[in-house]
């Protein structure tokens, strides 16, 4: 595989072995105008985010529906007591009166995602200004760091939860929120890692700063959805 | 175009042109439309009656009426679409060389008035349908005093019916004629569908929830209760026999299953005074038998020395019931 760095304004007028063309999508290899590429990618990302927002809304709906329904009194297993413990179908005891998850764990995770998004924003500003590679790669690296921290914290939270998935509807939905956050963080970390690596290779200088903006949109969305889930989980337990 | 040409053009292209109505496109389409409408209306009026089983309650009759009304209302609309489509194949079809396209037709991109008329008619139809549906639905929400409570429990793969106050639990359903009944339905495992189709009501049986449907059987007859929600391996077998019987037969049936006569009579809505189905408990020692005109009376006088229950009433498929009274004489009452 050949790869060479390229400056952004290299237009290819023939069919020859062109230089590596960052993201040019049509096989003719002829550059699509940057505005067109940006327009396409932003539109696509907004549609993905809209779908993800629907997913979020339905998750929150699930939370409030099961909480209101409180079927068999088992939203929080309040009917179970230590004297008379409940058991699930496999004979595992269900804790009496589920202890709520520590909201601060979720807050820390949400804070990490917000900081990651903030650093991506700084990277975008650096890309727009197009001064040095470091202006992009340093904030990108910081962003990636906070994404990894958030993932680590999320995994830690799974391990220290005072309940497990078998402990009723509250436990189920809360851990589902955590799982969804983790999945989004993993995708975000992949993108963040790519941003960092690419920026250290000078890929996002100048003419393709809008690519960093795209990543910023996604990072902000992940932060926003994490915050929403944190608030719901903490305030409406 | 000259004025004459314009008139010719209008006459040729609009329904209001000068030729006799039925020899023009509009007229012929009208005839085809009429044909389809008549067929549709006939289907609407006759087919449900022949295809549906005997419906045993006003709710069931509502279903039948709804089908008839909706079909009759839909027939002209469907007929119009069919008429235009069929006519197009007869009148405007290109008959020449099929390898080449016919010459272009007229460049008509739309017809504002037609669209407005169409929208108006379809909206009006929807309003009518809605009005009908909501009216019927509201009549079904009316609750009555003195309803018969039946608890229905669904499980994989049978239905259990219990009648509160009688201690009776069975796998067949019997209901007394003309008594409002309220089913309280739940499930002990997965979601089932409680479906006494001919009563015109249906609701799912959900675990940990009780759902309620109400009906008033107004015809005697046998039917089947089926499960309408796929519930696993033997969903196809989750059926049981059911019947609407007279209150006397119902009471006798309950007693045959272990209910005291008092409880059975109360549940059946029978009281010592034959006129009103009140809730006074008939005195067990002085109960007088009630008779329904046209039926042979079944003696129900309790005999404290004899066994408290009469022989169980058996329901055979033709609906007649044979009971053995205390005197040992079998008395058969046929359904009215």
């Amino acid at each position: 595989m050949s790869f060479t760095t390229t400056t952004h304004d290299d237009h290819d007028h023939g069919h020859g072995h062109g230089p590596a063309v960052e993201g040019a999508e049509n096989p003719g290899g002829h550059h699509e105008p940057a505005e067109l590429r940006d327009h396409k990618e932003r539109l696509a990302l907004w549609m993905f985010i809209a779908g993800d927002a629907l997913f979020l809304i339905l998750m929150v709906f699930t939370w409030f529906y099961l909480r209101t329904l409180n079927s068999n009194g088992m939203w929080d297993a309040a009917q179970c007591s230590t004297a008379n413990p409940c058991e699930d179908g496999l004979g595992n005891p269900i804790l009496a009166q589920i202890t709520r998850a520590d909201p601060w764990h979720a807050v820390i995770i949400a804070a990490c995602t917000v900081l990651a998004a903030g650093f991506v924003w700084l990277a975008e500003i650096g890309a727009k200004k197009n001064t040095t590679k470091g202006a992009i790669s340093t904030p990108a690296g910081m962003a990636f760091l906070f994404m990894v921290l958030a993932i680590a914290m999320q995994i830690y939270q799974f391990q220290v939860l005072p309940f497990t998935t078998i402990d009723g509807a509250y436990a189920s939905t809360y851990e589902f929120f955590m799982g969804s956050t983790l999945a989004h963080l993993l995708i975000l970390a992949f993108v963040g890692l790519g941003l960092w690596i690419r920026s250290t290779r000078g890929r996002h200088a100048g003419g393709t700063w809008y690519r960093v903006r795209l990543i910023r949109f996604f990072a902000v969305w992940v932060a926003l959805s994490t915050v929403i889930l944190t608030v719901v989980g903490a305030l409406f337990a | 175009m000259s004025f004459e040409e314009q008139v010719d053009d209008i006459e040729a292209n609009t329904i209001l042109g000068g030729e006799p109505f039925f020899s023009r496109a509009g007229g012929k389409i009208f005839i085809i439309w009429l044909g389809f409408t008549i067929v549709g209306v006939l289907i609407g009026v006759y087919a449900p009656h022949h295809l549906l089983p005997t419906l045993l309650s006003p709710q069931g009759s509502d279903v039948w009426k709804t089908i008839v009304v909706f079909t009759v209302l839909a027939a002209p609309v469907a007929a119009f679409v069919y008429a235009v489509s069929f006519y197009s194949l007869f009148a405007w079809r290109h008959k020449g060389n099929q390898d080449e396209p016919p010459p272009d037709a007229m460049p008509q991109r739309g017809n504002g008035p037609m669209t407005v008329v169409w929208l108006a008619i379809s909206s009006l139809l929807v309003v009518v349908l809605l009005f009908w549906g909501i009216t019927v639905w509201n009549t079904q929400q009316v609750t009555h005093a003195n309803t018969l409570q039946v608890n229905v429990t669904g499980q994989q793969w049978l239905w259990t019916y219990s009648y509160p106050g009688t201690g009776v639990e069975t796998r067949t359903l019997e209901l007394p004629l003309n008594r409002p009944v309220e089913f309280n339905i739940t499930s002990v495992d997965v979601t089932h569908g409680f479906w006494p189709a001919v009563l015109g009501v249906q609701v799912d049986a959900n675990p940990n929830v009780t759902t309620i449907i109400r009906t008033t059987p107004d015809k005697l007859g046998n039917f089947t209760v089926r499960c309408s929600q796929l519930c696993g391996l033997y969903h196809a077998f989750m059926n049981n026999k059911a019947a609407v019987v007279t209150p006397q037969q119902f009471s006798a049936w309950l007693q045959g299953l272990g209910a005291t006569q008092a409880a059975a009579d109360q549940t059946a809505g029978i009281s010592s005074s034959a006129s009103s189905p009140t809730t006074t408990l008939p005195d067990a020692t002085t109960a007088t038998p009630t008779t329904v005109p046209g039926e042979t009376a079944t003696t129900l006088t309790p005999d404290t020395t004899a066994p408290a229950t009469t022989a169980p009433a058996t329901t055979v498929p033709d609906g007649s019931t044979t009971t053995t009274g205390p005197a040992g004489i079998p008395t058969t009452t046929a359904p009215a």
Binding site: E25, E32, F48 | F70, V84, H94, S122, T191, A236
Partner: protein
Amino acid sequence: MTTALAPPLLEDTKLGPNAGGLYERLNIWTGLGFGIFLGFVAWVVSHATLQGSNWGTDMVVTCTMLGWVIGFNIGIGTFNAPIRWMLGHDQTHEDELYVAGVGQGRHRYLKYCTDHKVVGTQYLVLVMVLFAVGGTLAMMIRTQLITAHSSFLDPQTYNAIVTVHGMVMIIATIVMVSGPFANFIMPIMIGAKDMAFPRLNAMSFWVIFSAVPCILATFFLGGVNAGWTTYAPLSVQAPPAMDAFAMCIIVFVVSVTVAGVNTIVTVVTMRAKGMTMGRLPIFTWGSIIGAGLGLYAMPAFLLAMTMMITDRVTGTSFFVAAYGGSGWLWENVFWIMGHPEVYVILIPPVAAVLEIASTFARKPVFGYKVAIAGFVAIASLAIMVWAHHMFTTGWAPNLAGPFMLTTELISIPTGIIFLCTIGTLWKGSIWTRLPMYFVYLFIWNFIIGGVTGIYLSDVPADQYFHGDMFVTAHFHYTLLGGAMIGATAAVCYWFPKMSGKMLNERIGKVAFWLIAIGIQVTYFGQFWEGFQGMPRRVAYYDPQFLSANQMSTIGAYTLMAGWLVFLYMMLHGWRNGKIAPANPWHSKTLEWKVPTPVPLENFLVDPVVTSDPYTYGEGVPDGQEVPDFAPSDDPELVPAGSAGSGAQTDAGGDH
């Protein structure tokens, strides 16, 4: 169209020895191999670590399916581009030509290929395979039901077949128009060189391909006995097959979401100069409206199936009432997806029917703007009707009235679509070639399907009909009789462009009549069953339902014969058909203005768009043309798409 000075075609480019890199070695066989390998590894590892734990078997099945899907997509090359992006090794121009299929001949159909025409053809073959599978299962169902207590299938197998038949057909009908035609035809229709995201396009195909074995595997894992709607809590208790089923859906959702985004972005951003939104063919409008609705519905499906998996694999209690869950939660989330989804199935074929009606009546589409408004209204209302599937569940009886209202309102825009269809036929010059046959059959069937839906939308009447065969007959009339027949018309219409051959219409007419009669007999038999009170999804029934079932089974065999003849016609046409001219139907949309076979990047010269493609009878030159390539003395000729003349965002005109 080529002259002595025609430029070299892009697909004739000679690539260097390293073009494509890793892609050179990847194809469907490496995909299958790596998928089986990784699935096996996942099975071994999860079996060793998890089998003893609670829900161990479910975990093993889930991990195995995940291993298969990821392994297949590694093996076919789906992940190449994202990983190269992450590492900063962007594809070269040569790589991109390779991945577009240059220099590989027929092999490109078995590889990850970004050319939208290849992807469209791949989708068409996949859809045909899915219909063959679903159809075979349908014939097994109808064969079982030819007697009241058949010994052909046991209840568990029967329930499993009913489930997979339903879901395979749903998958097939969702992609039957958006896969082949929104991919192959639509970009050419709008004057674009390809889809907006060609790599995502190839990805969406291979991802859905990898989902199919998951659902077929359910037969070997105990069978899903809960119907395609897999209501909880029954499905929470189902055999491990349910985990494979859920994985299939989750993967499928990813594919459909990506494809939907791709379709919409393509139409919004990649139209040729002069192709304003108001000049788009109606089929394109139907495609993006259907795709948009799909984007709304798919997240709900994803949520439902993910919660199902957690309930089964980790013991959550979303749907287990004893521990705080509710079957109604499943039903609501499922139908929030399930109802819009049938309009995702319906809208693209209906738009194709309008397109075909216009061409074969030699008339513009009647009420073009009104039809678009109708589609938008249908899509908007579709979001608000889902609980009409829940009228008899006992959930929220107070909402029965509002949902009855919204459901009956949908009949208004649907009626408008009928107006546009018959308005197009009105005083047209009807050219009864094979695609037009299916247009008429669509009209006939969809009226019946739509009217019977109105009975079901009435809450009191639904209390009789819910869960019985009337419902089955209604949705088969709309989905098979309506949507699938519309798709069949689309296949007949676009076959010459996609394959370069003409279909033998005499064989086609035999197929048509068998299908037409088969549909009526099969599903009127089921309406009859429904009136009598026969429930759905039963392997055995009361003898009183015998006649109706026999009628339906006879109809089904007729229908099957029709589809087999249709398949034969397609194969025969593909191998031995007459060579198709570029525009056999003398249509005015852009896809017919390019040569057959269509060149890579579609247009050798930029299309010229000055009006919509419905100028029939106006006595003007076509408003959407690709000018004949004009000979020139300039030896430096470059094809369209060189810097400065590439596809641009819509410029000028109204949107």
